[in-house]
C-alpha cells in the first residue's frame, strides 16, 4: 500500500535522480511487474507493459545469478543504439528502472542510481513496517450490481 505521502517522497527522489543523472525516465516497480511511481517522459510508451517486461527481464537475470551461485545481480544494463535501460535491485522485492539516452552516460546514471537506491530502500523499509499496521482497504457499498460484468 502506498499512501499519498509515500508517493510524494518517492516521486521527489526520482525527480531529483533524473535531473542529476540527466536520464529520460525512471520508475519504481515491483518484481511482480506493478508500477509504483515514475518520473520523466517516455512519450507514448505503455508504462504497464514497460514495467511487466522490466520485471520479467530482471526475474530471468535473477535466476541466472542463482545458477551461477550469486544471490542476485544487483544491476542489469541493456545497451541500445540511442536508448539504454539500467535496472537496479532494491529491497522489498522492488526495482529501479531507468531509461536514458545519449545525453548522459552509463557511468553517471549508475553513480546517481546507487545513491537513490539507498534512499529508496530506506523509504521502502518504512512503508513495509507501516503496512503491517494499516487496516485493509474496504470500499463502502457493493462494487457491482449482480447483473453487470466487471469487464466488458
Amino acid at each position: 500500500m502506498l499512501t499519498p505521502e509515500d508517493q510524494a517522497l518517492i516521486q521527489n527522489l526520482l525527480n531529483e535522480f533524473i535531473k542529476k543523472s540527466e536520464a529520460q525516465w525512471s520508475a519504481l516497480v515491483d518484481k511482480g511487474g506493478n508500477l509504483f511511481a515514475q518520473q520523466g517522459n517516455t512519450g507514448s510508451l505503455d508504462l504497464s507493459i514497460l514495467s511487466a517486461l522490466a520485471a520479467g527481464s530482471f526475474a530471468a537475470t535473477h535466476e541466472l545469478a542463482k545458477r551461477l551461485g550469486e544471490s542476485e545481480f544487483s544491476a542489469l544494463y541493456h545497451e541500445g543504439q540511442g536508448q539504454h535501460i539500467l535496472m537496479s535491485a532494491l529491497h522489498c522485492e522492488c526495482l529501479l528502472v531507468t531509461i536514458f539516452g545519449d545525453k548522459t552516460n552509463i557511468g553517471l546514471v549508475r553513480f546517481y542510481a546507487q545513491q537513490v537506491t539507498e534512499q529508496l530502500n530506506a523509504i521502502l523499509k518504512q512503508i513495509q513496517a507501516k503496512e503491517a499496521t494499516m487496516a485493509p482497504l474496504i470500499v463502502e457499498g457493493d462494487f457491482l450490481s449482480s447483473d453487470t460484468a466487471a469487464i466488458s
Binding site: 508517493q7 511482480g32 506493478n34 508500477l35 535466476e63 522485492e93 460484468a149 466488458s152
Partner: protein
C-alpha cells in the same frame, strides 16, 4: 500481491492464466483483446518463439472503474505451458492475485492437464502460496471438439475439493466463455475490497451465462468463497 496506490486511487491486480501446453491460454488473451470494448485496454504483448509458442509470457493490461473511487488495473499474464519452461512459470507467478486454470477438454490431454494442475500447486508453494489462499477459476476449454471429455468427468478430476471453484465451459477461439471466466476471477478478487461484496458471483456473466458449469449435486452452491 495486490498493489494499492492511495495517491492515484489505483489498485493493481495480477491474474495468471495457467495450464498445459496448447490448452488455449494465449488464445484466451488474444480473444479478450478483441472482445473487450468498454474497459481501457493496453496492447497485447507476446514473448513467443518464431513458431508462436509462448516463451516467457503474454501480457494484457485492462483498466476498469469497478470499485467506487478507485481505478482497478487488471494485469493478465499467461505462462508458457511446455514442461521445459517451469522456471519461467515460477517467475510469472510472482505476486499473483488470482488464477485462471485452463483445462484442454481433449481426452488425450488429460494427463497433461493433471500434471499442469499439480505443477501449479508446486509452483505456488515455491512462491510461498497455495490454492487455499489464491482465488482461482477453472475454464474447460475446447468444448467444441468432437471427442471432448464430459464436463462431469472434468469436474470430478479438477474440481473435487471441499471448496469448489467456479468452472466455465469455453471455446476460447470463438470467444465462448472467455469474458465470463475473466469476470468470475475479477469478481473473486474484488470481493475482498468491498464492504458488502455481492455473493452472486455466478450472476456476473453478462453474456451466455449458460456456459457456467453446474455444480455436482453434492457440491456447495456456486459463488461461495472458492477457498478458505
Amino acid at each position: 500481491m495486490a498493489f494499492i496506490n492511495y495517491s492515484s486511487r489505483e489498485i493493481q491486480l495480477k491474474i495468471v492464466y495457467y495450464g498445459a501446453a496448447l490448452c488455449g491460454k494465449t488464445t484466451n488473451l488474444v480473444t479478450l483483446h478483441k472482445q473487450i470494448t468498454h474497459a481501457q485496454k493496453g496492447e497485447l504483448v507476446s514473448l513467443a518463439t518464431d513458431a508462436d509458442r509462448t516463451l516467457f509470457f503474454d501480457f494484457l493490461s485492462l483498466n476498469t472503474k469497478t470499485l467506487p473511487g478507485f481505478t482497478t488495473r487488471f494485469q493478465l499474464y499467461t505462462v508458457p505451458g511446455q514442461a521445459i519452461y517451469n522456471t519461467t512459470r515460477q517467475l510469472v507467478l510472482k505476486g499473483v492475485d488470482g488464477i485462471v486454470f485452463c483445462v484442454d477438454s481433449h481426452w488425450d490431454k488429460m494427463a497433461d492437464n493433471v500434471e499442469s494442475f499439480a505443477n501449479l500447486q508446486e509452483n505456488l508453494i515455491e512462491n510461498h502460496l497455495s490454492l487455499a489462499q489464491i482465488p482461482y477459476v477453472l475454464q474447460y476449454n475446447k468444448r467444441d471438439i468432437p471427442n471432448a471429455a464430459p464436463v462431469n468427468y472434468l469436474e470430478y478430476t479438477f474440481n473435487n475439493r471441499a471448496n469448489r471453484a467456479l468452472a466455465f465451459e469455453g471455446v476460447a477461439s470463438t470467444g465462448k466463455g472467455v469474458l465470463e471466466t475473466l469476470n468470475a476471477a475479477a469478481r473473486l478478487l474484488l470481493a475482498k475490497y468491498s464492504k458488502t461484496p455481492n455473493p452472486n458471483v455466478t450472476g456476473l456473466a453478462k453474456t451466455d451465462s449458460s456456459s457456467i458449469v453446474q455444480p455436482l449435486p453434492d457440491s456447495p452452491q456456486q459463488g461461495s468463497p472458492v477457498a478458505s
